[in-house]
Symmetry: D2
Subunit: 366 residues, 4 copies
């Protein structure tokens, strides 16, 4: 459904940049999982604008409030609602947008869909909507730690424009990624990436890039064999994030340049476990996790908001120009990292609970 | 849910390579849509093994039977069940697989998921499962023609291994694609592609490639702004197909090498309509169709079944080798084309009905 | 899903008596429907404790806040979140309940379900949870007026304990029902019913009764033929309200005392419309509305909270007694009336949108 | 969704009296559950027309075929499709119905819903549709025995017209019920009930009645606290059966004549278990099972098909009469018993799997 995600672990988000605020209801949370508002705030702070000199300077505190489902620091099994009140609304900034469609934003398509001009800062298309997802995923993270300790979801900036980071998905750590404001795992690229972002921002322009993500220690057996293949669910999750244009898992598009002999991952027994000696499958085979690291990449286009004059039309059908002004996020990649992790966490926890429901455990009891 | 797809136009598939057969229930079909079993058979024949000299030689007639929901050639608004009985079961061919996991197939992960060795030719992971999808999409195609005539969904082989076809997504026709057994839209590449497939098949090896797809004349306004973005639904649909490793829309991964100024699609009025002068968005903005051609690409890995000896393990945990033998599809790309079209059709019709339900029409009534 | 209701018009509720508050997200709302917070507050006030001398004296203002989905008094097509902050928490009152299970409440079953003692005033089983439903239904009411003006949903108290009201479902008005604090449609019974409630309250005892509801001017064609029959959806909706024990539609249980000849509703043309000359079907045939008044009844048991000492056990398995004290609602019937209307509204609007999605209108376009 | 039921254990039915046949896909079935086609056939035979002298004399073999999801007598975790081919179609019998609406059938409402005259013997409204439900429930029964042995679902005829059976829900056995063709649990009423059915059949008339059902040894903790209360799910399940007009659980409508003091079920420890000394709750409190017997009743109206001339209208809007002729089931109650059991089984297994998914077991692990 339109603002819901997941089956067994289900989230329902609401809210726009304008109006009272944004938030989420998380339903299907197992009871007796330790949770604090700080667990949620920690992840929101990683997503927050204004957190460093290379992201949008908007100042939003994004303070989370847990409205339900938690007593004495423990989940109750009932829906957990998290709310973040809007503060920085500045409706004046959007006056021009009330009549002119911003190129490559959702302004025109919203109008076409609902027959109504969404004045509210991009409406639900605003990146602000992802607050609810990140808050929900912070809860998912606690559930994961409780049900299946050891699983780790970690993302990083793999590239910004033409600058490619060299990162080993099997060994990079959260500390590596969080050690720099770009959130790349390659120390050698940090300075260049920061410089590039500052440069394009100075020009009023923007850049995109690729986020890479690994899910480690995922038990084999997660994912469904047909439509809800684990990679299909991840693909949907990632393409539902604003500004994404592509998803690939394991060998991805480059894998089409290999032959079957080169591409297949041989099985070998290692320490009594079934393992593969290569991982072009990206940790998923036939839609189901095989216990290897799940590795995927997500393409983010350059931010549509630029500080340059652009050709566009009005909502009454006249050609016009849109002047560039206001604030903008010249590169969303550093803030996209926690969003990618969030969506991956939601998918994994959902499938853990689905697997437990149908089969009784992960992996299946013999 | 595990074997269901879609919300308003919903399909439920069933069946394996072994057992009685495969099929689908299509629920939510509008009433009074003309439909014949030939509409379905036509698409199944495009998906069928043995249809040409470059696909798997297995002979399966794949005869569709409509079991319900149709009276006098017209849909009744009730569930339409389509069934295809299995013919070519050959259980003997799978004896070795009963103990050895085929590399990069779903054999091991099935075992891990269900705690049971699926002897049935890959179970639901078999490409045979896609029969239900293609049958359902043939129904979707009739609904589309009835509700929103003019929409066209067309896919073709964009690349096989290193061979890239040059195809203009805006002008290529169904006749162009169907004129050759590779189903590429570039006549200049047909011979080379056929030769390559025959060559790798001769070696017992396999190759993958990329399928590209266009959806033309899609009305603006389809897709939901948050999780069920049209590109997210397409991404899931495509990654749910067997052997897929990547999805990209519009500018895709290459779009990360552009700046915002280069990437944004300016709006202009053309013949009284809001149009964009470029289409790096790929026909979708903020998750909602904008009326331009929707263009996306799907990566298919080289077929996992190869006729070469491979290292693997048994289901009792011993290292072993799997000899290559039997039949194999050295390149699934020609047969993947109708599958990609099928999944795209299912997504579009689902969102047409969702839009009509919530808003009353496409685009929204003013 | 556990806290979600509806398919096309979907609501997700959250919140307990304790914690931040209660509320709802309403998803799938058509755009451009006029809506004010007063529309919602009006219905909440009908549901509110302390509204008259015969309901629980708890003082809760239950002030609704619309957090999203509304701009300039018009729905945006995006999720509408409504929140009511908790005020009157009084945790002290529940100390005894922390160890003793209240008879015929959900205390023990919650413990059995979640493995955790829900201290929070009955948790989600609290009647306070229905605030979200009533708020959502106030939105549904506006949608109904917009899409299908003329439909009216009206409920009243049919009986309290042995006191039966004589009400004509076809002619009783909202003004009739709201003219008295019992919310019965029979002026002759008002005084007796009030006296009875006061009497049992004086004894610390409680009484139940039956609410009857009519849906007038419902277009024919709503409801699905199999599992989602309109009466099945209404039955679920009503039995999901706290304290309900039964549902019957049209002739109901008494209809089992008629023969088919007596029970069947003959069709006759009246003013060019297909009508039935009797209405034992209760406005629904084969799960689908037939255009006649939809009439059903819901049984509410006597309130479980009584001010008398009762035998019970502790959560550590010891027999004990629970003293009666505190506040109680000796009869929920007057407050149940808006809850019954709310659930009926949610069902009807959901099916209107489902029908429009699949078929294109109500009744079906010819 | 229209032809789907359940969340974790989901069924999708299809088929009409006319057309190829009827059937069901059951999705979400746990793997490794022993199952045979005879398990399904056994229940279908209890539902079958022509099984005794007091049910409709139509001869339908209703032979079940399992099309998927089963290998070597064990479920695979994949969708199980069951198909029953139609045999006795007799389209001639329905000619008159092609223009005249049968009173209190779904003929007119189908037309209003779909804008199309369903010639197919009542379409999905036909009792024949319940074959899919009964087949699915036979699978549910095996799952239940596997996951939670000891649970028993047993229904019987409680009344036919004015004839009331005296049955103790706690002690009546399946053998008691199956020992007579009426399927009542009271030997003293068998002859009178058979005589009554024969008498009304002789007159071309029909009678209805009440089916009562008990679910024994259900673990505490099943059901969701808000919309998916166990009694709400049962109510929907039962009201989705053809010809039902009412549902009540525990004390039901009669419970409104008790005071709270009389109605509450005191808790006592018995053999180390929390038990209630009375069971007016009917085994469910706050939507969640409490471990006591779950007891409910379902009202079935007299069959709408009678062999008497009736007033009606044509589908072109003219008053007319419908002559009575052909075959009819003068009382559906004996055949309704397995249908009620089937729907109860589907609800219970669904909630067992949902509980295992979210909480990990039934009752919740401490």
């Amino acid at each position: 459904m339109s603002s819901s995600f997941g089956h067994a672990f289900r989230i329902h988000t609401f809210g726009e940049s304008h109006g009272g605020g944004v938030g989420v209801i998380v339903d299907g949370v197992p009871p007796k999982v330790p949770l604090t508002v700080e667990d949620i705030q920690f992840e929101l702070d990683r997503r927050r604008p204004g957190q460093s000199e290379i992201v949008t300077p908007r100042k939003e505190a994004d303070k989370a409030e847990i409205l339900s489902g938690l007593v004495d620091g423990v989940t109750q099994g009932t829906p957990i609602a998290v709310f973040v009140r809007n503060e920085d609304q500045r409706p004046g900034a959007y006056e021009e947008m009330a009549v002119k469609y911003r190129p490559s934003h959702a302004d025109y398509t919203y109008d076409a869909k609902y027959g109504i001009r969404a004045l509210s800062g991009g409406g639900r298309a605003s990146a602000r909507e992802t607050i609810g997802r990140v808050a929900a995923a912070a809860i998912a993270k606690q559930v994961l730690q409780h049900l299946c300790p050891g699983i780790e979801v970690l993302a990083w900036v793999k590239s910004i424009h033409h600058l490619n980071a060299s990162v080993d998905p099997h060994t990079v750590t959260s500390a590596d990624v969080e050690s720099n404001i770009v959130r790349t795992g390659d120390p050698a690229m940090v300075e260049q990436m920061i410089d590039l972002i500052k440069e394009v921002r100075g020009e009023g322009n923007s850049v995109g890039g690729v986020v890479e993500c690994v899910i480690r220690n995922c038990p084999p057996g997660l994912g469904e064999p047909v439509f809800d293949k684990l990679e299909a669910e991840l693909a949907k999750a990632m393409l539902s994030l604003p500004a994404t244009k592509g998803f690939e898992i394991g060998s991805g598009f480059a894998g089409t340049l290999l032959t079957g002999r080169e591409h297949n991952d041989p099985f070998r027994m290692v320490d009594g476990k079934v393992r593969t000696t290569s991982n072009r499958s990206g940790g998923i085979q036939g839609g189901i996790s095989n216990g290897e690291d799940i590795i995927f990449r997500v393409a983010f286009k350059p931010t549509a908001t630029i500080m340059m004059s652009q050709e566009t039309v009005t909502n009454t059908g006249e050609n016009t120009e849109l002047a560039g002004r206001g604030r903008h996020d010249a590169c969303v990649l550093p803030r996209a990292v926690p969003m990618v992790e969030a969506m991956a966490l939601l998918v994994i926890v959902d499938h853990l609970l689905r697997q437990r429901g149908q089969v009784g455990g992960f992996p299946a009891p013999k």
